[in-house]
Symmetry: none
DNA sequence: TATGAATGAGCATTCATTCAT
DNA sequence: AATGAATGAATGCTCATTCAT
């Protein structure tokens, strides 16, 4: 038990550093964030950060990937709800769209996009990994759902991947525009509007009839 | 004339510095780019850069705004072509969409998005200005065109702003996804596909009948 | 017996650490060598090194002194052979000179000189101790041998210490020059030449007749 | 004139930095010396040191080479005096030997040897350069002088290089031993003794008759 | 106006050393 | 006795910015 506690403590400290790191990176950007600041806010000494995570770069990558996985899990859980859309497909789609928008609009998700975008040139591989674990994954999950609905005759879709891509476009792009890349808060009512409009247009195009 | 030449020379030098600055910022990112590097590539001494542009921050803002205006001009010119869509609306829309995609996929436009996104937190006002001059402007121009087409009975649109927002979403968001935020080149054929799919879905939803 | 084994193990571990330490110090220099590296190569944890040897400085001193004693023992054994020079004094001297040169040219001896010299300012006392145990000792042993030979009428020497000093100078200084302070390997043939030349000159000056 | 003054000022500052650097390196050793300390003692800001000398390593190399050249010039001037030895060769040789010993015993020369030796492993090329410019050069100059004296019948030498090597050995090695690698001051009288003894032995071996 | 030179501030990283186990 | 983990203290180096010319 003592051993378990000890190694749990170690894991907790590492996790704490990663969490704080993401927050600080989100606040200041990769370059302006300094390891000292992260260490201070995590309540550890600077070398402890290095002991656990080698590098500023490594620290960044791990922090970002952890956030990416968390966001991905949230979104996947939402999309999964399309498995049983119930009678009212429009309502179900709108609900999913709205909840996806909520996630996209949350701090972590916004920070994740900003950090990833900001380091496009510096860490191209990281961008790749993050996108694969998030956008890619959710796009595929959505395509799977749409394919099932098409099979069930609920939708008229020939290319599920393309349909998913467009549905997600209709959901996320307007949010990016209205939130001005996340610099402005978008009220829930407006999220609702975006979700409704996306669903309406999507169903107009792909609805059976 | 001598004076004119001199001040022309001055203006040219300023412009040269801004151009080089954008290139360097695009290549290295705001923080990693250093003024010395910009001065070197512009063929001037470091203090000359400061004489013309005060600050690293000011230098950045001017460089980015100049690029934003250039991109905006390009996109507006394309959207303007929707004024006379001809008989085949689908063809006209697809053409416009394709050319917009070309612009979005070009180096300057990608760099502009990356730099803007990267400095979200640091220069929120800049983000605002850039977006206003680019996305905002083009969204409005597009809304204007769609409104006219609706008025002419060619499209069934109640909210032109929303329709424009969605059309642009269908055009740009898939590009972002497939180019992995601009880190991968997207072949012309794929741009074509995106344009066609966007037009098809848009017209399915908003076409008259 | 168990106790003996245990303390033997302890001694062995200490010895292992010292050996590794000398190697690492020789390779990297005092300052650039880090305790972690020594611990790693010795297969122990860092605190174990501290348990056994207190300090980086202490560790260094012990490691260097051990090496110094080993080198001193080697050289003394060689000089001792002058006790019975046989008929051909020139041959005996040349042989001793050659073997001294071999020792001087060996890795441990070179590293010892380099490390000692490098820490002249930092650990002046160590320099003193090392020199006393090596150069001093061998100079005296050599003086003893020469005095005996003088007494036996084989050499014409009034000041044996001075003669020894000069003989050792004729042996070691040329090696330092030709090996460029030990950075270049000197082939055996060249060592032979140095030994012969030293002997010749020494005997020309001090030989009886 | 203004230009001359300005660039003279620049050169002076660079030279001042190099001088201070050598002093500090001599006092603390390469690794323990810190650039800040050098900058402080030179009365400039740290970046100024970097502006002029790129690197800590570069700074070290230039400082050491400058010192090496100065020492070499001193020693060469002394050896040159053997061009006209006058009637009393023993006196002339002793005088030269004594003055060489004075140089070897001076702070700069001692520091130069210590620093060079200390960085054997780290900067082997530097060692090479320093030795070439000092020991090598002086050995050749001495060989030249001895060859002339042999030609004039004043000395019986077949291999001037070897003779020079041995003469220098007889001069310098005893000093190293007695000064304990430069950690102890050797009184002038003792230098005199060393010089005399070296000359005596050398002439016993190589004198004509 | 343009520039060579200088600087103050900051930051990633390393390392000897020490606890708690 | 041995170690995993943590830390205080340094240090090399960079960069935006400013003078003096």
């Amino acid at each position: 038990m003592a051993g378990a506690t000890a190694s749990r403590g170690r894991i907790d400290k590492r996790q704490a550093i990663l969490d704080v790191a993401f927050t600080v990176f989100a606040r200041r950007g990769y370059d302006k964030a300094c390891v000292q600041e992260i260490a201070d806010e995590a309540g550890v000494a600077k070398p402890t950060v290095y002991n656990h995570l080698t590098d500023k770069q490594t620290l960044f990558e791990h922090a970002v990937l952890a956030a990416a996985d968390a966001v991905a899990a949230q979104t996947l859980a939402i999309v999964a709800d399309l498995r049983e859309p119930g009678d009212d497909l429009a309502a179900a789609l709108t609900d999913v769209a709205y909840r996806l928008l909520e996630v996209c609009a949350c701090d972590r998700s916004r920070a994740l996009r900003a950090l990833t975008y900001a380091q496009l040139t510096t860490f191209p591989d990281l961008v790749d990994t993050v996108l694969t674990r998030t956008s890619r994954t959710i796009a595929e999950a959505m395509a799977d759902r749409l394919a099932r609905l098409a099979l069930a005759g609920t939708l008229r879709i020939t290319d599920p991947a393309e349909a998913a891509e467009q549905l997600l476009a209709l959901i996320t792009a307007p949010l990016e525009a209205r939130s001005r890349l996340g610099t402005r808060a978008v009220p829930a009512a407006e999220l609702r509007d975006i979700a409704r409009a996306a669903t309406r247009t999507f169903l107009s195009a792909y609805g059976s009839r």
